[in-house]
């Protein structure tokens, strides 16, 4: 990696490229979930460009950090970041969600491609991550585990089973990042199942917890550099995000959980995103 790759400016540039890649993938396949992709792009960029100890040159290194992308429906965001970071080839990306293709709409485990765990059914990721963190701690490994979930996954009971477990077992090598866009698949969290106050919930389960701006690279990088927030406790990063972030007409608009941009919308989105590259 070039030295300046982890700079804030560079993160913003990569994030804009990633959003363009996602737009391409989704428009090409007329797929859903562009909104959930865009809300977690900045988090993924920070994680993969400096936040985590992962590298396409050390795919099976036992001491690599482990990443579980539990909100599997936003896979284009993950694939695009893996591509920009050198884990996935352009050919792999162009085979996204097509007949006989390379990458399906929910991530399929393949350590050789940097995908540790298959996901798609919500509420599984944190338990698997806690199991990894528990095993790595037993082996005195320096490897850490990062799990990114949607806020909707906090409605799954299994997630809370894992939160209770991780706090009890003091898994301070485990970090949970909640993509806290407060917009579920059918409407706002406030009207469906309100999660506030989120940090207090985690603190009550013996976690260290911070709420950050999930689109501020300064905030995200600072949080990732401060892990674990409390020694002997797992860490929650409640990343406040916007569904559809990066394209003005998609931001916080429920319909973009499902809709695929038409040609005109695509052109507009592309123009806005390309503008973002130069910010």
């Amino acid at each position: 990696m070039p030295e300046n790759v982890n700079s804030l400016k560079n993160h913003a540039k990569i994030a804009a490229q990633v959003r363009c890649d996602v737009l391409d993938m989704i428009c090409r396949t007329k797929g859903p979930h562009i909104g959930p992709c865009y809300s977690c792009v900045d988090l993924l960029v920070s994680l993969y460009f400096g936040g985590m100890k992962v590298s396409p040159g050390a795919l099976t290194d036992p001491e690599r950090d482990r990443f579980i992308f539990s909100k599997g429906h936003a896979s284009p965001a993950l694939y695009a970041v893996l591509h920009r970071r050198g884990f996935l080839t352009s050919a792999a990306i162009s085979g996204f969600a097509v007949n006989g293709g390379t990458l399906q709409q929910h991530p399929d485990y393949d350590v050789k491609q940097g995908i540790e765990v298959s996901s798609g059914s919500l509420g599984h990721g944190l338990s698997i991550g806690a199991g990894m963190a528990y095993a790595l701690k037993k082996d005195r490994s320096p490897a850490r585990v990062f799990v990114l979930i949607s806020d909707g996954e906090l409605a799954e009971g299994s997630t809370w089973e894992a939160i209770l477990f991780a706090g009890h077992h003091k898994l301070d090598n485990l970090t949970l990042i909640v993509d806290y866009n407060r917009m579920y698949a059918l409407g706002p969290a406030k009207e469906t199942l309100d999660l506030d106050p989120l940090a207090d919930k985690f603190k009550a389960f013996n976690w260290g917890a911070r709420i950050i701006d999930g689109h501020s690279f300064k905030d995200i990088n600072k949080a990732l550099a401060a892990l674990p927030f409390s020694k002997g406790k797992p860490s929650l990063i409640g990343a406040e995000t916007l569904k559809g972030k990066g394209v003005s007409f998609m931001e916080n608009e429920l319909s973009w959980h499902y809709s695929c941009p038409d040609e005109k919308e695509r052109t507009c989105a592309c123009r806005e995103l390309k503008g973002g590259e130069h910010k």
Partner: protein
């Protein structure tokens, strides 16, 4: 059976530091030896079966061999999707040890009955399903499980009942065991019902009917060759299981028989889908639902004699 299984597992764990035992807050006293000898390899995750299976998958992804224990419905049904995705889809060395085959928990009632697990676990991709019938065979399964690649479901229940236990016959997973050779009919049994099949065969012999008894301890992969061999030899074939007649051993055998062109008479002996609201211990419930040796013998006699008489007309 459970006690013997875990005593053997304790010795195995001692020799294999990567073997871990998870329990969903069940199995009082059964883990004592493991906890005493290798406490770091034991983990009570609390009453949280879904999390237990996810944890096991995560640990297995980091190189551990993990055993998960609970009562059958909580293990196989509550955490069913975690078994499907986290364990089976990733083809991980996670062993599910379910206690309470069929009506083992008797008076505890429906919530504790293990009567759909074989159907569900059999449908899981890559899952191996083994049901030991005796204490000795449970110990043998414990030994075989250690080096088993991929997901494994071990179904435990009562053992050595009705004086027919105490046998070590199981050699390998996936290879049925011929316990008794007859010429008139074949009884293909699994788990607790193996002992029943042997008693039934004894009773039938008194009436002049010679029955073959096969211990089909591995439901998946099924020893299809053994079933096809029966299809070629016997006019009457019966499957016996302490499980719903839907989706378990009877269904698995029926599939093979249908595809092999079997033209004889096949009957599934098992538990009906709809249970009566009857309270009782396992023996009581066996008698009520027609699984006791006497009830099974009567039913088989009726089928065999009825068919023979019809053929004579």
């Amino acid at each position: 059976m459970r006690k013997a299984f875990y005593e053997r597992m304790a010795a195995i764990a001692l020799a294999n530091p990567d073997v871990n035992f998870l329990t969903g807050n069940l199995g009082y006293k059964f883990f004592d030896e493991i906890r005493a000898k290798c406490p770091a390899q034991f983990l009570d995750v609390g009453v949280a079966e879904q999390n237990m299976i996810g944890l096991a998958a995560g640990m297995a992804l980091c190189g551990k061999s993990v055993y998960c224990y609970s009562i059958i419905p909580f293990l196989t049904l509550r955490a069913c999707e975690q078994v499907r995705v986290d364990v089976c889809y990733h083809n991980l060395p996670v062993k599910l040890v379910g206690m309470g085959a069929g009506f083992t928990y008797g008076q505890e009632g429906f919530t504790h009955f293990g009567i759909e697990d074989l159907a569900v676990m059999r449908a899981m991709p890559g899952m191996t399903v083994v049901v030991p019938d005796t204490i000795e065979n449970a110990v043998r399964v414990a030994e075989l499980s250690v080096n088993h690649k991929g997901p494994l479901y071990i179904r435990l229940g009562r053992a050595g009942i009705h004086g027919a236990g105490n046998k070590s016959t199981l050699k390998a997973i996936g290879k049925a065991v011929l316990l008794r050779q007859g010429k008139d009919c074949a009884l293909i049994a699994i788990g607790n019902m193996v002992a029943v099949a042997e008693q039934v065969a004894e009773s039938l012999s008194v009436k002049g009917i010679k029955a073959t008894v096969i211990n089909m301890h591995t439901l998946k992969p099924l020893d299809e060759a053994a079933v096809r061999a029966c299809a070629g030899k016997y006019q009457f074939i019966f499957s016996l299981e302490e499980h719903s007649v839907q989706g378990g051993l009877g269904s698995a055998v029926a599939e093979v028989l249908a595809e092999s062109g079997f033209s004889g008479k096949f009957e599934r002996i098992g538990i009906p889908e709809k249970l009566d609201r009857v309270i009782g211990d396992a023996d009581y419930l066996w008698a009520h639902y027609g699984l006791s040796p006497a009830k099974v013998t009567t039913r088989l006699m009726k089928t065999i004699r009825g068919k023979c008489r019809a053929d004579q007309i």
